[in-house]
């Protein structure tokens, strides 16, 4: 059966991978028949209505899902298609209370035109009462016009008529309302680096968070990702090199736990602990179903891991006869860390700790500057499922989702970068992204830095 998905018109490169992830979660196969990133309407093939409901129910970027009754590039074609597809079914709806809605993208119709459009479907012969609130069945006429964005990017010509028209019967809403529920503005415990609710929920979906599963964020911070994974039912663990980030300032209260409490998902929270990914206390066995993370890549803070700067020897300082590290308030030394070295550590960690087919969803920054390219990190035991990009002015970040391959399967990593930037002593020397975007004469800080230099 063909179904029509109505997407939210944003985060376009995340929409298909998220829809596919939701189908994987629902255990159904999905075929995407027609998709255009400049349109909210997408036609998919799914086994049945139950499958359509299950897929939509888990999606954040889908608004709702419909049974496709017909499509065309004009009303003549549409009516012909509707007759062909649904002629035998009209009788089933003859007495049902119903409603007709006109939905349009990048276009509009006045009341008179709307009335004409709705009346043009009178051949279906629905006699049921028209009910504007709580109808038993809701039919949608969708008109898709060419949007200004597409005109400016692709140079498509815009005409006064819709490019595509659909008739469909509504089946189900998605779980998009969760975006409002988890809005950072209403969350008890957040920080400047908290990931927004929508992208956190999408990340959890890409990694297939679900009841019964165990999820982990090694850079947990204020817990945006594990809260999202737990919203979908996973039990979650988090770690951070800086315990203050998840602990919060109020003594006696665990900041991150306040969030789980606020959303009524305390039973999904396992633990947070202070640790460093390069010296993780997690055992070297496969115990995790999913890893969701946004590693600290040095946009706001330089990268650090535990250890001494190269050239400085490791020492056990004794103060008043007590080793310094046993004294209260000891802060372990940290050293600068490479951007790519960090990503590789995450991949190696994922390979060790994910169960077969477990997923890693990791964010990484990249640039819009074509001269500098940041390769997607690869590992032969991980298959890349999807890469989605969120664009900002001078930089962008991408969400990369990997699947842990079962033993005996390998992925092709011949395109992967060989040398890794773990040699160097300063945060800037180690971090190509930081060099491009944060140093004098580059990217966003050009004006200000030139002034200081003079």
């Amino acid at each position: 059966m063909d179904y029509l998905v109505r997407f939210a018109q944003l985060h376009e490169t995340f929409r298909r991978p998220e829809l596919e992830a939701c189908a994987t979660l629902a255990g159904v196969s999905i075929e995407i028949i027609a998709y255009n990133e400049y349109s909210p309407y997408c036609v998919v093939r799914l086994p049945n209505e139950a499958a359509a409901r299950a897929v939509a129910k888990r999606s954040i970027l889908v608004k709702d899902i419909f049974e496709l009754w017909g499509e065309g590039t004009n009303y003549e074609e549409l009516h012909a298609d509707v007759r062909r597809r649904t002629h035998g079914r009209w009788n089933d709806y003859i007495a049902v209370p119903f409603k007709f809605t006109i939905d349009y993208f990048a276009g509009t119709r006045n009341t008179v035109q709307k009335g004409e459009i709705i009346r043009s479907f009178s051949y279906m012969g629905f006699k049921g009462p028209i009910r504007l609130s709580n109808p038993d069945e809701e039919f949608f006429v969708m008109e898709e016009y060419v949007d200004d964005v597409e005109v400016s990017i692709l140079g498509t010509t815009r005409t006064g008529d819709p490019r595509k028209i659909y008739l469909s019967r509504k089946i189900a809403d998605s779980c998009r309302e969760a975006v409002l529920k988890y809005d950072l503005k209403k969350r008890r415990y957040i920080s400047t680096t908290s990931m927004d609710a929508e992208l956190s929920l999408i990340t959890a979906n890409m990694a297939l968070a679900a009841p019964g599963k165990l999820f982990f964020d090694p850079f947990v911070g204020t817990g945006s990702f594990i809260v999202a994974a737990s919203h979908f039912g996973a039990l979650t663990l988090g770690a951070d090199i800086d315990g203050r980030s998840f602990r919060g300032k109020e003594s006696g209260k665990l900041g991150i736990y306040e969030n789980f409490d606020q959303y009524g998902i305390k039973s999904k929270f396992l633990d947070t602990f202070t640790s460093d990914l390069t010296n993780t206390p997690l055992q070297r066995t496969a115990v995790l179903d999913g890893i969701v993370c946004d590693p600290p890549y040095g946009v706001r803070e330089g990268l650090r891991v535990l250890g001494n700067r190269r050239g400085k020897p490791a020492v056990n300082v004794i103060i008043d006869g007590i080793p310094a590290y046993l004294r209260p308030g000891f802060i372990p030394p940290k050293k600068p860390y490479g951007f790519e070295a960090l990503q590789n550590d995450v991949l190696n960690f994922a390979v060790r700790s994910l169960v077969p087919n477990g997923r890693l969803s990791m964010w990484m920054p990249t640039t819009n500057d074509e001269k500098t390219e940041f390769p997607v990190p690869m590992h032969e035991n991980l298959e890349i499922i999807s890469i989605s990009v969120q664009n900002f002015n001078t930089w962008a970040r991408r969400l990369i989702t990997y699947r842990r391959l079962p033993e005996g399967e390998l992925s092709d990593i011949s395109l992967a970068r060989k040398n890794i930037d773990d040699q160097g002593t300063s945060a800037d020397a180690l971090n190509a992204f930081r060099r491009v975007h944060m140093l004098p004469g580059h990217g966003t800080r050009v004006g200000k830095d030139q002034k200081t230099a003079e």
Partner: protein, 158 residues
């Protein structure tokens, strides 16, 4: 820290990971709390195969709980709701709020405060620690050399 987490963590020192003595970490001076949580049998069933049963028995004994059966419940035993509830209570509802976790291999102790364990290593237990662990230099000499190189009281790498 919940008992389930204790079953997944070992010593953060790289060299210790290969030693059987480093797992499980041993609880000392543990203060326990019970917290009631929703019973989630599908989670217990999913995670149980990944639990190291011998380690769980050790942890359970050290925390003063009755001895667990010799072998991990499998197959039909997992249909018994009481078995799953007992595991739920031990793994998820029992947590250590204060105490220490000590490595049986290197002897380093990790503190647990307000339920949060700190696995950060002091610098001399980090990547260069193998010099000492592999008996390239004895601990006393290691400490002595170290304290001569750095100015006492300043700490390292701040």
């Amino acid at each position: 820290m919940k008992v389930i987490t204790a079953n997944f963590v070992t010593c953060a020192v790289k060299e210790c990971k290969t030693s059987p003595a480093s797992f499980p970490l041993h609880f000392n001076d543990a203060e326990l709390e019970q917290q009631e949580l929703d019973f989630q049998p599908e989670f217990i069933r999913n995670v149980l195969p990944r639990i190291d049963w011998e380690a769980l028995r050790t942890i359970s004994n050290e925390l003063g709980f009755p001895t667990l059966p010799d072998s991990k419940p499998e197959g039909e035993a997992l249909d018994n709701e009481q078995t799953l509830k007992d595991l739920h209570r031990l793994l998820l509802e029992t947590h250590v709020t204060e105490g220490k976790l000590t490595c049986g291999n290197c002897g380093h102790s990790y503190m647990i405060k307000e339920g949060i364990a700190n696995f950060l290593l002091p610098s001399h237990l980090g990547e260069e620690y193998h010099l000492f662990l592999n008996n390239i230099i004895p601990h006393a000499l290691f400490t002595q050399i170290a304290s001569q190189i750095d100015t006492p009281g300043l700490g390292t790498g701040f």
